[in-house]
């Protein structure tokens, strides 16, 4: 019974937050609604016994990524009087409606068709209910998926370098003087 209450409350938080992100006029409100959704998902992670992921979700997503969003919003300045500008490009609203209808249709189709659940057998490391999930995650991450783990470090370095180059202000007088010297 408590499971059901937790699920329903967290799911309501998630969905209200998700709709809020889409319909909020002020980008700051969108970011705060995103925090709400992320907390709801963290609650779902706890309910599914992925405790470490729940902590990471709150720290990384709600703590770092949303703060970065808010930082950029404040940096660029908030235009409070913006309308809810929807679908400027031709056919964009139609595409959104089609995406929603098709997605919901597929969802309902799957819900009606799949009755006996997923029965295939796992291929990777089975979950041991006696050891904490963080230990199992570490073994999976550093044994089986260590190559992908190393690749993510490369990805992060590329992203950081790209962000630095993108957001650097061009200084024409410096470049000109350097060009003159060389």
């Amino acid at each position: 019974m408590i499971d059901l209450i937790v699920f329903l409350v967290a799911a309501a938080i998630c969905l209200v937050g998700a709709v809020g992100v889409v319909v909020a006029r002020n980008p700051v409100h969108s970011a705060l609604m995103l925090v709400m959704t992320l907390f709801g998902i963290a609650v779902h992670f706890v309910a599914q016994e992925a405790h470490f992921l729940a902590a990471v979700q709150v720290i990384v997503y709600a703590g770092a990524i949303v703060v970065m969003f808010l930082f950029v919003i404040m940096l660029l300045g908030v235009d409070v009087h913006t309308k809810l500008d929807l679908g400027g490009l031709k056919g964009q609203r139609v595409a959104a409606a089609a995406f929603g209808v098709v997605g919901l249709g597929v969802l309902v189709f799957l819900m009606t068709r799949v009755e006996d659940g997923i029965t295939s057998q796992p291929a990777g490391t089975p979950i041991d209910p006696n050891t904490p999930d963080i230990n199992q995650l570490a073994h999976s991450l550093f044994d089986q998926y260590v190559f992908a783990f190393e690749l993510t470090s490369v990805l992060l370095i590329i992203a950081v370098i790209g962000a630095v180059i993108l957001s650097r202000k061009p200084r024409p007088e410096l470049e000109e003087s350097q060009g003159g010297e060389s």
């Binding site: 969905l15 992100v21 980008p27 997503y61 929807l86 057998q121 995650l137 998926y145 202000k169």
Partner: protein, 101 residues
């Protein structure tokens, strides 16, 4: 009623759909990036639910990689947004159609 894992899958799919609709509807590039985050979170929820269903911890490992990719995506995306808005203040995603050759 009992909460089965299928409920989590349905919620993840709903989050993905809402994020996709928002991505297509909104024109503010920052809000579009947030909608991408919504879609990624729907997928994360699905991965964790499948990890529980199949009894395989690999699903939770994949969520880690999704987190890393989301962080990298946000860093680069916000860098691009800052660069665009610095050049033409108040730009929306549609204004980038001037880049069409």
């Amino acid at each position: 009623m009992e909460v089965t894992e299928g409920w989590y899958l349905v919620l993840g799919a709903l989050l993905f759909i809402i994020g996709g609709i928002g991505l297509l509807l909104r024109r503010n590039p920052l809000v579009m990036l947030m909608c991408v985050e919504l879609m990624l979170n729907g997928v994360n929820l699905t991965f964790v639910a499948f990890s529980r269903i199949l009894g395989d911890v690999a699903g939770q490992t994949v969520v880690f990689f999704v987190l890393v990719v989301a962080a990298a995506e946000v860093v680069v995306g916000l860098g691009i947004v800052v660069a665009i808005v610095r050049r033409s203040p108040g730009a929306t995603a549609d204004d980038l159609s001037v880049m069409k050759g």
